[in-house]
Symmetry: C2
DNA sequence: TTTATTTACGTAAACGTTTGCAGCAAATCG
DNA sequence: CGATTTGCTGCAAACGTTTACGTAAATAAA
């Protein structure tokens, strides 16, 4: 079975490779008659251009990379959905890389991508990442990058986020209005700007309503869910006065449910719970969970669109293109007064 | 800023491109001293080989494609997780494509991939796919393919599935033992072999326990969840005798919960429900949902491993390499007697 | 010494595509 | 009618890497 490429098509058509190539790219310097012949044979032979030869020659891969902590998470799954949609429409391919929130892995992935495998990068940084040297290098490699959700403030590029400060404020206020007096905040590693914003919203809402912030009510989660359950259990036992919980990430809200069930704390009678979550089944939980839900699909799509515009123009992405989308608060029974 | 490639390194080191290339690939025909010099400079200049040039020359892309219906679904998200892990360990990259269960899109994606962008393909076919010509073409393009979960029986290659027949049987039997007399089966498009197996398990379990199969109790879901809710509502109203529901896909179980809540049917008192699901929060639903849970991560990882072995040997994948993994049944309150 | 063999490197040809340049007709213009 | 333009096509050089082949020197075998 002989390979079907420009050369084989050219030979069969008795013309040069150049003409075949131009005909297929619909160049204006090829006669309509020739184009017809070329296209007919290409279709008959099921010709598919070699993506790598083209990429090498044009120095364009028509591919974007997506680097995220995990995929088994509704937020990221939905974001990928949006990213894939935008990429597909623009004729781009999507490479997926998972960091599992591991800094070393993130560095290794980014390093590899400097080889020109992707034209641009979408990224949600790992929670353990503190040093951003590996990301700076991308600028030099001329690979534009757009951060989404878990952004990196130190890098000068576009970012797509949600109104995290306001959401943190609203969630906390929602609990206060529901009658909570001692509200705990569960979050993960606080070196993420996103966590800081939510935390600040939480603190400001407390202050605004005359509640004194209490460091003992702030719990930092870890990667492992088992450990989180233990941490939350310990917190609830140590501070029996806690009557409200604001979870900055879905996993911690779920773990809270498990602990409450285990300790016999009733939701919402004893403790009210609200959490960031994209869980479709939130309304079917026992009790239905009040959530702040981020527009994950839109975040992914918007980030991809911004990136693709930059890629097409071969320009770096500008911070000015940053976008802030709004999350929605769904009050359900877990915070019923 | 000059590009850093083999040529620039060679010039700076006063040696030929070939030697630099060989040194970096740790060839035995380069002296240790030279290797040291080359490696040192490569590191200093942050050299990253151009993936496309290498791919073009070696006719190997070190990339696999994953074609799935959707990603916002715990099963597929977990599968991707397993796939990415296996790929990363083997030094492969992962391209993601979503069909959204659309046949046209699936064909278009597969067609594109014949251009050599990927060394192999992992696939879960779209529920609307009936014709498999586009997949046969892959054989000719010498691209091995491994199906997982939603396999295509007509194509002669390796498949990674779960024991769907047994699971369907067990789920049905579980409902029967819990006292159900009129058990409905909710599934999607039945041209998928996977749906047929589960359905057969359901039917055989009914027969084995002296229940007569009733076509009026089998409901075929569609893409849209709103429509599914309507269909299920109609079914429950039309057949008030239904006291058990076996949902072949997670979405249909969730929709069932919504309908029951709406119609005031109590689970499990009035209707017992069991469904295929990888939802982590299944135990936290109201009531906790009994599930058949597939080892999604392992399915993805196993499929990727089989594919990568074939890719490395540049051989087609053999049907004999097929693997069947076992799902687990978790009995929870939704089927309590 | 001569003749193999090994070691270490360079030369150059691929891989398939794109594209600047040139050529060469036919058409248009002065 | 000669000069210039226009429309179409081919030639050949890239893109960066890998690798078969050649070669010169150094070592080993004779």
């Amino acid at each position: 079975m002989t390979p079907v490429n420009l050369k084989s098509l050219a030979k069969e058509l008795n013309m040069s490779i150049a003409t075949v190539s131009r005909a297929l790219r619909d160049s204006h310097e090829v006669s309509e008659a020739t184009k017809q012949r070329v296209r007919a044979l290409a279709a008959a032979r099921h010709y598919e251009p070699n993506a790598y030869a083209s990429s090498l020659r044009r120095n364009i891969s028509k591919t974007i990379g997506v680097v995220i902590p995990k995929v088994a998470n509704h937020f990221f799954a939905l974001a990928i959905n949006g990213i894939e949609e935008a990429a597909r429409q623009a004729g781009y391919h999507v490479l997926i890389y998972l960091t599992h929130d591991d800094y070393e892995r993130e560095v290794s992935i980014v390093q590899h991508l400097k080889g020109g495998r992707v034209d641009g990068l979408l990224m949600s940084v790992a929670s353990s990442t503190q040093d951003f040297a590996h990301l700076r290098g991308l600028k030099e490699a001329n690979i534009p990058i757009v951060f989404f959700d878990r952004v990196c403030a130190e890098i000068n590029t576009a970012k797509v986020t949600t109104n995290d400060y306001e959401s943190g404020y609203q969630a906390t206020e929602h609990l206060i209005r529901a009658g909570c007096r001692h509200i705990a905040h569960l979050l993960i590693s606080n070196n993420l700007s996103i966590g800081q914003f939510r935390q600040q919203g939480y603190l400001d809402a407390l202050m605004a309503h005359g509640h004194a912030p209490d460091p003992g009510l702030i719990l930092h989660g870890v990667m492992d869910n088992e450990q989180n359950v233990a941490l939350i259990r310990e917190l609830l036992l140590r501070r029996p006065d806690i009557d409200g919980i604001f979870a900055s990430v879905e996993r911690l809200a779920i773990s809270t449910y498990h602990v409450c069930k285990e300790l016999g704390r009733r939701i919402p009678e004893d403790i009210k719970v609200i959490g960031f979550s994209n869980l479709e089944a939130a309304a079917l939980l026992d009790p239905p969970l009040s959530t702040i839900t981020q527009p994950a699909y839109d975040i992914g799509r918007e980030a991809a669109k911004i990136l693709l515009r930059a890629v097409e123009k071969k320009k770096a992405v500008l911070p000015g293109q940053s976008v802030v989308l709004e999350s929605a608060l769904f009050a359900r029974r877990s915070t019923a007064g």
